[in-house]
Amino acid sequence: MNKKSLVYSYVRATTIENCILELSQGGVPIAGGTDLMILIRDGIISPNKLVDISKIKELKGIHEENGTISLGALTTFSELVESKLVREKIPVLYESAINMGSPLIRNVATIGGNICNASPACDSAPPLIVLGAKAKIVGNNGERRIDVEDIFKGVRKTALSKDEILHSIEVKIEGRLGASFLKLGKRNALAISVISVATSLIVENGAIKDCKIALGAVAPVPLRAKKAEEFLKGKDVSNADKVFSEASKIAMEESCPITDVRACDVYRKKMVEVYTKRSLLNSLNRAAVRA
């Protein structure tokens, strides 16, 4: 690496206010640091100061209140996997969490870090998007809420300004919703997604009332396959196989994957089609179970 040796200072923020202050002064937040450590090592980012937010109590915990599950930004992937609440009420997130990284990484990596790192292959994004999750963001100007999918602005670019921190993810529980996450990796653990797909369906009177399709690793940001969703709305589920086949083709057309060392664009596109259909079928089964 022909790069100068980087030095940076470090401070632990114990409160959100403290944290926002440090970020306003140019600090870079670090939670688990599993992504950050690599970015620093590879010279992709060069922070002056790391602001350790991992001990801020308000950013921790998984709670349910008034039909909304709140996941603190510091929730680790292991905590997601072990949470009875997540597994029972929003199992699509469990599916993504258990397939992320490895147990060693999951013990440290946080959902907030995963989202704010904004990798195109971010595994927690597709399930959160199809759950219609909202991100609560806090900063100098107070707090705001945006859809999780609107956080992603580009490769490693988010909608958060320098002084802002992701506080928590909120998921309104929709009892009839069936959702599924599928990931294609090149081996069975420690695999970056070649593509990932999450779908969710709400079925009413035998027809699709609402549906969401989120694709990962096939665009600079996690992608909503909106045309495919539009196509599905109102369709009769007795014809599911045919209808999902067509929707998957549309989703495939909406994706724009690249060719890289992991896979070529042609393959990725075809897999969007295959996995979208499979995910939709899974979601339908789960929606039916809940109806």
Binding site: L6, V7, Y8, S9, Y10, V11, R12, I30, G32, G33, T34, M37, I38, R41, N48, K49, L50, D52, S54, S78, G101, S102, P103, L104, I105, N107, V108, N188, A189, L190
Partner: protein, 167 residues
């Protein structure tokens, strides 16, 4: 950040930390950029913690941090101020081997030995939480610890033996 700036603000680039390592309290002044892996190996002489890939992809640097198995190459030491760390050196109790250590020997689960420290610690963290894991749970638990020699078979057997589940 250039050298002058660094020298001027030296205190900000070093931190005094207090951690418990293998049951002993240790106080050190650590540069902010130092990895936990390097602190353990170079300052504390705990060379059982291995560097395999420097990117959290192999698990050779696994340690137990506050009861959880994690990669020490991905942590800054300053991040773990106040925490409790266990390395392989801390496993045997006054010379008496931990059941995992005995099982690894007995089952023939050690070949080159480089993955062994990380593997044993990951297994310990598993058994501390889940004393009677299924084979599937064992396989899942060690999926972040790469082994190139054994094919994992005897490692899984060893963990079963240690959990009292196997013969």
């Amino acid at each position: 950040m250039n050298l002058d700036t660094v020298l001027a603000k030296k205190e900000e680039f070093e931190k005094k930390i207090r951690i418990i390592v293998n049951g002993r309290e240790v106080e050190m002044i650590i540069p902010t950029t130092e990895r936990l892996l390097d602190t353990l190996r170079n300052r504390l002489g705990l060379t059982s913690v291995k560097e395999g890939c420097s990117s959290g992809e192999c698990g050779a640097c696994t340690i137990i941090l506050d009861g959880k198995a994690v990669c020490s190459c991905l942590l800054h030491t300053v991040q773990v101020d106040g925490s409790s760390i266990v390395t392989l050196e801390g496993l045997a109790d006054n010379g008496k081997l931990h059941p995992l250590q005995e099982a690894f020997i007995k089952a023939g689960a050690v070949q080159c030995g480089y993955c062994t420290p990380g593997m044993i610690l990951t297994a310990k963290a598993l058994l501390d939480k889940n004393p009677k894991p299924t084979e599937e749970e064992i396989i899942e638990a060690i999926s972040g610890n790469l082994c190139r020699c054994t094919g994992y078979v005897k490692i899984i057997e060893a963990i079963k033996i240690a959990s009292g589940a196997a013969k």
